[in-house]
Amino acid sequence: MYRYDEFDSDFVRDRVKRFRRQIERRISGALTEDEFKPLRLQNGLYLQLHAYMLRVAVPYGTLNGRQMRQLAMIADRWDRGYGHFTTRQNIQFNWPKLRDTADILDALADVEMHAIQTSGNCIRNVTADHFAGAAADEIEDPRPTAELLRQWSTNHPEFAFLPRKFKIAVTGSPNDRAVTKAHDIGLRMVRDGDGAPGYEVIIGGGLGRTPMVGKVIRPFLAKQELLAYIEAILRVYNLYGRRDNKYKARIKILVHETGLDKIRAEVEQEFSTIVRSTAGSALPDLQEIARIESYFAPPAFENTDGDVVDIVGAGDKEFLAWTRHNLAEHKQPGYTIVTVSLKAIGAIPGDASSDQMRVMADLAERYGHDEIRISHEQNVVLPHVRKRDLPAIFAELKRVDLATANIGLISDIIACPGMDYCSLATARSIPIAQDIARHFADSTYAETIGEMKIKISGCINACGHHHVAHIGILGLDRKGVENYQITLGGDHTENFAIGERAGPGFSAEEVVPAIERLIQAYLELREGPDETFLTAYRRLGQEPFKQALFPNIQPARAA
């Protein structure tokens, strides 16, 4: 994985030093909150409902054992023994004290981590496919691209005050696990006619108040043209993006209001100007790309083979269920990708205790070439594991309640922190996720239902990605009481779709019965066990599902 050079390291330390002084000045009264707030946000420190929250960047979701262990140490020493992994592949600490935050940032810097650009109207932490470098379907590892973008965007003076925050996601596989069409810029690795890898560039996607599907602005961009092209997009956005209205300031609105063709023409023109005016020096030279790529070289895989079942025999049903659901195909024979579920039945999606973090760190070091990934679905991935080590890994995970065999099933729910933590929330998300997971706890029932993605957001900002869920749940405030709106048919993959609202909202108690009715309708309507909920929904349309949700709907209550 990428190692900071001296410049990176000095830069991060210097930022911590400055922030330490700013904290002291806030506490002494020399700075008002209005003066201090932008400074703390630039260092990832938010104020939530009950306490401060520190958002720590996990660039493209990649960590090693030492870093994970340090997160556990921070959780124990300065927080309350746990952390929360987010849909942005970051980790949030929920209870840091103001005075301690500089020490926490120093402890992060010790393991080459920081909280920079996790807030504010800048280019945020670049996200990537969590199976990067391991997936069998991959064209190229997307992380060198993400790292190049990280280095280029870190403290970029021209783009520190954009009209609004800016999020970039990269996938190296045709199977889009990075939700590229819901980002300001999405990059999908593709090959040109000669087989050379490059990018399909997508812009203007986003969730939130106004969900938009990203549009292809450039079907193929050569690798070395990347920075100049991204810079051109950012310049056009910086110039024309609206600054008068927060809700209209994202690039998705600019693209929508101006039209893709016009934006494309502007971007292409800016791109040629950049290339011409810098005589090509704005392009990273190939040597630099190769240098970064060398940090992401695949680990030394051994020549091994063996099927999981061969290794353990047919004995352990629980283990076999876990291998059915929590493994993904690795590009190296004999290896597999393990997804560790942070969704034990009734647990808080994305939360991990310090003990659990330490176990995952140990397993990565012992069995996984010291690599860990955080997925946007709030799980943890061990990307390079020998199949024959699976029984040992499973046993260890089970010891700390991390062996739930539910990846991709109905209880593998994304839930944002919602009103249990977040000051922007209009309703709670976590208890709804817990109720649903408990209701569908029976593994045979969950397996019968098959692939199902439920995603819950506690407000219209959509951090819980509810728009792209098969069943999306949005928590709203109806006169001071929580109310939940259901959307159907969303999809975060390469077949990207934004879910459609199914009708009026439900009270918290009504949500689980409503989901149960939806599932029953699906089971009755599907053509067979191979037809997933999403496929059935696409075939049948919303009507039968709407009827299941609102069996006694009165005309007056209709949406």
């Binding site: 008002t32 909150e33 104020l47 939530q48 009950h50 306490a51 808080i348 009103m419 249990d420 817990q434």
Partner: protein
Amino acid sequence: MARTSLQIVSANDLLDGDTVYWGTDGGWTRTLDSAVVVDKGTAADALLEAASVDQSLVVGPHVFAVDMVNGKPVPIHIRETLRCRRVPSVRPDLA
């Protein structure tokens, strides 16, 4: 939601972010029962102004609506109900 005309002033503590209320002794308190309860309108505006003079100890002073139940203030809106619990509803073990 019940109608009410009563409000109290609340904020987050500067050092740890915990919920605090403007108390009857003219300073910030962590006990809801010790909060000053006033009528919405002029009285609440004045109280908020008084509480906001010195913001060196807290962040984000604001008013919220309460009902009086058995002589004690009870928040009406779910957001303030949750804030007053000091810990997330899903982690009562942290209280």
